[in-house]
């Protein structure tokens, strides 16, 4: 209807990924078309093996599609050379993973400042910003702790601070609450939503955590590598009640 009014930060066109496993073809993604607006909080939902992690990898430029295109800010990602791709990962996209993926030998602060080092920021600037980011995620007093000295929730907070290091336009999260207990998971979701609202950053989260639906502007349901349906916020509310009922 009024699509031209919105500026899409991510668009995928005929996006397909085919893996060949033991001679048989597995279609992890099958002609996925998805447009994501700037500043949106989008959850990509689906059972494990549905292709949501594959979609995450394609949007994040972590893997190449078999067919189709991913546009970030209307730029075809396949056209980028290695330097431009690194630049994109460094500056435009912040990644959050299920397993946190902090660098184990570095302290919380060093982890957060690493993307800033790559971006060419001076040490002093990076340290100031790193401390500030850690404070934002509620870990101001844990800056010199190594990942092994932090709980899962704390590690994920460090990872979130790191994802925001270079003020990205997009936060890509792959099952960010997958390794966390219910309460910590909720805290992380709240934090992500807060960052989404305060920093106007687009959050795209692949998940099967139903708690995520609550804060999402849109929910994209994926099954067998295809988009099953896309729900807008207005439609979602009813479903949440229903599903929480099922869960309990």
């Amino acid at each position: 209807m009024s699509t031209s009014v919105y500026e899409y930060i991510v668009r995928t066109k005929d996006l397909s990924k085919i893996y060949t496993m033991g001679g048989t073809e597995v279609r992890a993604l099958d002609d996925v078309e998805l447009d994501i607006r700037r500043g949106e909080y989008v959850s990509i939902m689906g059972p494990s093996g549905s292709g949501k992690s594959t979609l995450f990898n394609m949007i994040g430029g972590l893997d190449k599609p078999t067919r189709g295109t991913v546009f970030i800010d209307e730029v075809d990602m396949a056209q980028l050379d290695a330097f431009e791709l690194a630049w994109l990962r460094c500056r435009k996209i912040g990644y959050i993973f299920q397993t946190f993926n902090l660098i184990p030998v570095m302290t919380a602060l060093e982890n957060v400042t690493l993307p800033m080092v790559f971006a060419g920021m001076t040490t002093d600037e990076a340290l100031d910003k790193g401390v500030e980011l850690l404070r934002t995620v509620g870990l101001g007093d844990r800056r010199d702790h190594k990942p092994t000295e932090l709980s899962g929730g704390q590690q994920q907070r460090v990872a979130i601070a790191r994802a925001f290091a270079n003020d990205p336009a997009i936060i890509l999260a792959d099952e960010p609450t997958g390794n966390l207990d219910l309460r910590t998971g909720k805290e992380i979701i709240t934090l992500l939503k807060q960052m989404n609202e305060e920093k106007k950053v687009t959050v795209i989260s692949a998940t099967h955590d139903l708690k995520m639906i609550d804060v999402s502007d849109r929910v994209v349901w994926i099954r067998d590598g295809k988009i099953e349906r896309i729900e807008e916020r207005a439609d979602i509310q009813i479903d949440v009640g229903k599903m929480e009922g099922e869960e309990g």
Binding site: N57, G60, L62, D63, K64, I72, D73, E74, V75, Q79, L80, A82, F83, E84, A86, W87, L88, R89, C90, R91, K92, Y95, F97, N101, L102, I103, P104, V105, M106, L114, P115, V117, F118, A119, G120, K146, R162, A165, N166
Partner: protein, 228 residues
């Protein structure tokens, strides 16, 4: 529309670059070595043993020459050194081959264990060359440290073993004595040991090159999937 490419290309010059300063790379390498000290020691051990063995062989060869000079009546020894010559070169070459195989193996392990970390770094904007640089630096440091320790241990042990027969003057003289003759060039012991330390660092660096390059080339998604 302010596209990604334009932004990246336009300002590649000063501000909008992707960098890893050498000082920072060195600091990361140092931390990595000390935090994973167990793994680092195992990696360095191959080169340590190789260089220790090589130094000991060279020392032994030089010591024989010193003794031959001191005891001029034992003319037979001069003949034997020519024969020993081939054996010394062969032993030195073997020790280096064994050390190289050892370090290639442990570098492969050490890189494989860190696939996930490599994938993460690439997500944070690291270029392939950063990954290679970090591993090369680490291998070079470990190689040099391992070789230094190896040379020290090899020489000191041989000095102790030969102390009685060489005497104090002999132990000092042995340093400048020919340890091995390459072509027609006599190589003094100290040059041989120094060469061993340098070759230890270089071999270790070369051993890291292939695994690091291969790991850096991996798509981040594949690197992140690996579990260790």
């Amino acid at each position: 529309m302010a596209g990604v490419i334009e932004e990246a290309r336009g300002k590649r010059g000063i501000e909008r670059q992707i960098v890893l300063p050498w000082s920072r790379a060195l600091q990361m390498t140092r931390e990595s070595i000390f935090v994973r000290i167990g793994r680092s020691v195992i990696t360095a051990l191959g080169i340590f043993l190789g260089v220790a063995f090589m130094s000991a062989v060279l020392y032994g060869s030089a010591a024989v020459r010193v003794k031959a000079n001191v005891d001029a009546q034992q003319l037979g020894l001069v003949h034997e050194t020519a024969e020993m010559q081939a054996r010394t070169i062969w032993l030195v070459a073997m020790s280096l081959v064994v050390a190289t195989v050892g370090i290639v193996n442990s570098m492969l392990m050490s890189v494989t264990e860190r696939y996930k970390e490599i994938g993460t770094m690439k997500c944070l904007g690291a270029l392939d060359s950063f990954i290679v640089r970090l591993f090369i630096l680490e291998a070079l440091l470990l190689g040099i440290l391992g070789s230094l320790a190896g040379a020290l241990v090899g020489v000191v042990l041989m000095a102790i073993v030969n102390a009685k027969s060489l005497g104090w003057a002999g132990t000092v003289a042995v340093w400048k004595e020919t340890a091995v003759v390459l072509g027609s060039r006599p190589i003094p012991l100290w040059v041989g040991v120094l060469f061993g330390i340098i070759i230890g660092g270089v071999l270790s660096m070369l051993a890291a090159l292939y695994p690091a390059w291969r790991a850096a080339k991996m798509p981040p998604a594949a690197a992140l999937r690996s579990e260790f």
